[in-house]
Amino acid sequence: MNLTAVLVLAVGTYAFRLAGPLLRDRVRLSGRVELMMSTSATILLFALVATATLTKGQGFAGLALPIGVLVGGVAAWRKAPFVVVVVLAAATTAALRFAGLS
């Protein structure tokens, strides 16, 4: 890793980020397209949840991680406060790993 690589990654990433807000300035979106955009972001984020929960690199993440996320997810579904959800997920996974489950 060198400074040039960092700068190229930074410029490219910023271009991805800026493109959305700037495109929205240029084009007037119908309510239908607007709804599709926020649905697509939800779908992307949910896929990110799924891959971050179940995979590590290109393989399976092991059991401790998905069980922790599941416990957090159930807590969220039962309307537990956000902070409780996050701490519960991390604590469950940490406890399972401490107990020797990978």
Binding site: M1, N2, A5, V6, L7, V8, L9, A10, G12, T13, Y14, F16, R17, L18, A19, G20, P21, L22, L23, R24, D25, R32, M36, M37, S38, T39, S40, A41, T42, I43, L44, L45, F46, A47, L48, V49, T51, A52, T53, L54, Q58, G59, A64, G68, G72, G73, A76, P81, F82, V83, V85, V86, V87, L88, A89, A90, T92, A95, R97, F98
Partner: protein, 225 residues
């Protein structure tokens, strides 16, 4: 801008703090891992300030540490960050109207700020959530990276604390309200299945982009809804 801060309620601030705390631990480990891989201390710091996308930063440093070229590291990082384009299309309006707000706000466009903005019921709250989450994350992440880079290897593996479970759980909690809608839920489940099936075969970051297949399903269902 001032009206944003009046919209902030204690509950939102508490939620944002929880996410920022997680980012701080992960930032400290990024700084430590980078210097541990032989980078000068300032390089992960500059990278965090300018790139500000944790996943791609870990990825880029990891590729180089594993013997890959800087070009390969940049490519892997960019693939991972391509998702910010659809995020910006979805929440671009909550940044604010002025050019400066758009230019600065775009740099704060990450998974968490997008999820926080989408989870709010009205535009004013969405704007407050986006900016408070973005600023808190930016400060927490960058301060922690400096600390991690300087303190170095004394920081243990953050996954021992289950930190890798905190990130998806937080996103999931923010997404639950949107997933109450049946068409969205079906599209999201299909998308997740596609992303998981594609993960063993494609470079990181690309599988989640494939999920937009799920969107075609909702688009087709919408006229009947």
């Amino acid at each position: 801008m001032r009206s944003i801060w009046r919209t902030l309620d204690p509950e939102l601030l508490r939620d944002v703090s929880a996410v920022a705390a997680g980012a701080a631990v992960s930032g400290a480990s990024f700084g430590a891992i980078s210097t541990g891989a032989g980078l000068p201390w300032w390089l992960p710091v500059v990278m965090s300030l300018l790139v500000f996308a944790g996943g791609s930063q870990f990825m880029a440093v990891g590729v180089v540490a594993a013997g890959g070229s800087p070009a390969a590291a940049v490519l892997a990082g960019l693939l991972l960050n391509a998702r910010h384009l659809p995020f910006g299309l979805a929440v671009g309006d909550v940044l604010g109207k002025g050019l400066l707000q758009r230019l600065v706000g775009s740099h704060l466009l990450v998974d968490e700020t997008t999820a926080f903005a989408l989870a709010q019921s009205d535009p004013r709250r969405a704007k407050a959530a986006y900016w408070s989450c973005g600023i808190a994350l930016f400060v927490a992440w960058n301060v922690a990276v400096v600390a991690g880079a300087l303190i170095g290897r004394n920081i243990g593996d953050p996954n021992a604390f289950g930190l890798d479970a905190a990130f998806p759980a937080a996103l999931l909690a923010l997404l639950l309200p949107a997933l109450k809608d049946k068409a969205t839920r079906h599209a999201a489940l299909l998308g997740a299945a596609v992303a998981l099936a594609a993960t063993p075969f494609l470079p990181a970051g690309v599988p989640v982009l494939f999920t937009l297949v799920g969107l075609l399903i909702t688009a087709r269902q919408e006229p009947n809804a």
